[in-house]
């Protein structure tokens, strides 16, 4: 059967082959995992079991259960002081990936250019492409902490005339995040250039050095930001596949139109479990965050000590060290490290061309594993 050209051209085949190699291997210490190593807190799992026992197995409203939307609205208001109308401005989705896909399809016209800071999480490029847009990648640098600057935004707008911008902070894969002051400056540029912003803040609760400030809290942003979040990372609920999008009623309405035909609704058990997480799961988040902070310190120090320059990521659970001193393409390095020392890392090139020369290492792994991985990498480098 013929495959649509657009889809055939999508997958980065080299990386896929590397992934397959890892999946078939035994005794690997993996720093390649993009999900928490904690299991979902018991009270949330118990709620999910209870819901199944009570027969919560039906469809829900397309937008998601009204009580969950109200819970999210309350949480956003209490935590960040943002007000969204649960009736018209919040949509429950199957993870942030679906929310991003809906947002792109609902707002991008054929040929629209969308700015994406690079390195970028693997979904943005393909999703924009599939929606008919054209992603334009803005290279960020290690020496700038992998952040885009207002000046960079100004130049890109002059050059490419984009209609939108994807922001992902804290970032997967670099862990970079923005302070309130940095965001304030970015917001002025965003407003100046009348951009729509797809703000993926899934790692918000895992911000370590300062308070995370959601983009819609800034003056003038609410009307132009589609705010995306979910419970996967903060509450260790990746397998529940539950996210949400908040934004102006018109955009959420348009996204709901697509969602009702493609997904219908998010799974009801996941919606019920999410209510439990948001109502009483914050102690778990803080416990996990403290543990991640310690591991981050260990990884950053250990990598820098062995000569792999690594910036201190402000959030998420990734470090993104440079391997430029090794003079080996990141894919080759990752393959060789896997073959010789059985340590899996994700080659930087998976996150964009300019991320070549870096690798992503996840510290969502036990301290014992991280220690052993560092010993093996050291031995690989001969340091």
């Amino acid at each position: 059967m013929r495959i649509a050209k657009k889809v055939e051209e999508m997958a980065p085949s080299g990386i896929r082959a590397f992934f397959d190699l890892v999946l078939g291997m035994q005794d690997v210490i993996s720093l390649g995992v993009g999900e928490p190593d904690f299991v979902t807190p018991w009270h949330i799992r118990e709620k999910a079991i209870y819901c199944l026992e009570k027969g919560y197995t039906s469809y829900t409203s397309n937008k998601g259960m009204p009580e969950l939307r109200r819970t999210i609205a309350n949480y956003l208001h209490k935590r960040h002081g943002i007000s969204y109308d649960p009736e018209e401005e919040i949509l429950i989705t199957v993870g942030v990936s679906e929310a991003m896909d809906l947002a792109a399809r609902a707002t991008i016209e054929p040929g629209d250019r969308i700015l994406v800071p690079e390195p970028w999480y693997v979904m943005y490029g393909p999703i924009i492409d599939l929606a008919g847009g054209k992603p334009v990648f803005l290279t960020t640098k290690l020496e700038h902490g992998f952040k885009i600057t207002p000046r960079q935004l100004d130049e890109a707008v002059r050059k490419y005339k984009p209609t939108g911008l994807v922001l992902n902070y804290p970032s997967n894969p670099t862990g970079a995040s923005y302070t309130k002051a940095e965001l304030q400056e970015l917001c002025q540029a965003i407003e100046r250039h009348d951009l729509v912003v797809y703000s993926d803040e899934i790692y918000d609760e895992l911000t370590y050095d300062f308070e995370h400030t959601p983009l819609p809290t800034f003056k003038g942003m609410r009307k132009r930001v589609i705010y995306l979040n979910g419970v996967s990372k903060s509450f260790a609920m990746t397998g529940f596949r539950l996210g949400w999008a908040c934004g102006p009623a018109k955009v959420i309405g348009a996204m709901t139109k697509i969602h009702q035909y493609t997904m219908l609704c998010a799974p009801i058990v996941s919606q019920m479990a999410t209510m439990e997480a948001l109502k009483s799961g914050f102690k778990d988040v803080l416990d996990m965050k403290r543990e991640y902070m310690r591991r981050r310190r260990f990884m950053v120090d250990a990598l820098n000590a062995m000569g792999l320059v690594c910036h201190n990521p402000e959030g998420a659970f990734y470090v993104f060290p440079s391997i430029q001193s090794i003079r080996q393409p990141s894919l080759e390095f990752a393959k060789d490290l896997l073959k010789k020392k059985r340590v899996a890392v994700v080659p930087g090139v998976a996150f964009g061309e300019s991320a070549e020369g870096f690798v992503r290492m996840s510290y969502a792994s036990s301290f014992e594993n991280l220690k052993e991985a560092i010993v093996r990498i050291k031995s690989y480098l001969g340091t």
Binding site: V22, M25, V33, D37, R290, R294, R297, A302, A350, K371
Partner: protein, 161 residues
């Protein structure tokens, strides 16, 4: 709570070098802090949690929860009676609790008879003890935050975005 205590509470065998790396302090600073905690009694003891059901040829140990009602004493309240009771080596834990009784004990013995003898000959006849209720423990599922059953390793994909 100090991060050092947090780490040791999870794993008392964590080497000081690792604690130093995890907390961003020097090895000397960690050693000094631990010594201070030991000295001032913050760290009382380092113990191992053992699942006795899995110990080969185990020495039989019987445990009982004992609820004790006592008459508090002028000026010293429950402390005086509590001290009289917890000083017995058979008493491994002793708590003052709210509710229908006053002290909750965990008592160990080699068999039911030794625990029963302790209650009958030592505990119940004490001057300020008004009454006791003994519950023999049948199975331990979780001890001090630790689930004793070996948990299955959760399967995560080795690599994911």
């Amino acid at each position: 709570m100090d991060e050092i205590l947090e780490i040791l509470a999870k794993d008392a065998r964590t080497p000081v070098e690792d604690i130093a790396k995890l907390t961003g302090r020097s090895v000397m600073q960690v050693k000094t802090a631990i010594r201070q905690y030991e000295k001032d009694g913050t760290i009382v003891q380092y113990k191992t949690v053992i699942n006795h059901e899995l110990v080969k040829s185990p020495k039989t140990i019987i445990r009982a929860l004992i609820e004790v009602s006592v008459t508090p004493q002028k000026d010293v309240g429950f402390d005086y009676v509590a001290e009289r009771i917890y000083s017995f080596p058979e008493v491994v834990s002793c708590y003052l609790v709210s509710g229908a009784y006053d002290l909750l004990l965990i008592v160990e013995g080699e068999n039911i008879q030794t625990v029963a003898d302790f209650v009958a000959s030592k505990l119940s006849p004490m001057e300020h003890v008004k009454g006791t209720t003994t519950h023999f423990l049948l199975k331990k599922y979780k001890d001090d935050g630790q689930i004793l059953k070996k948990l299955h390793n959760r399967k995560r994909l080795n690599i994911s975005y």
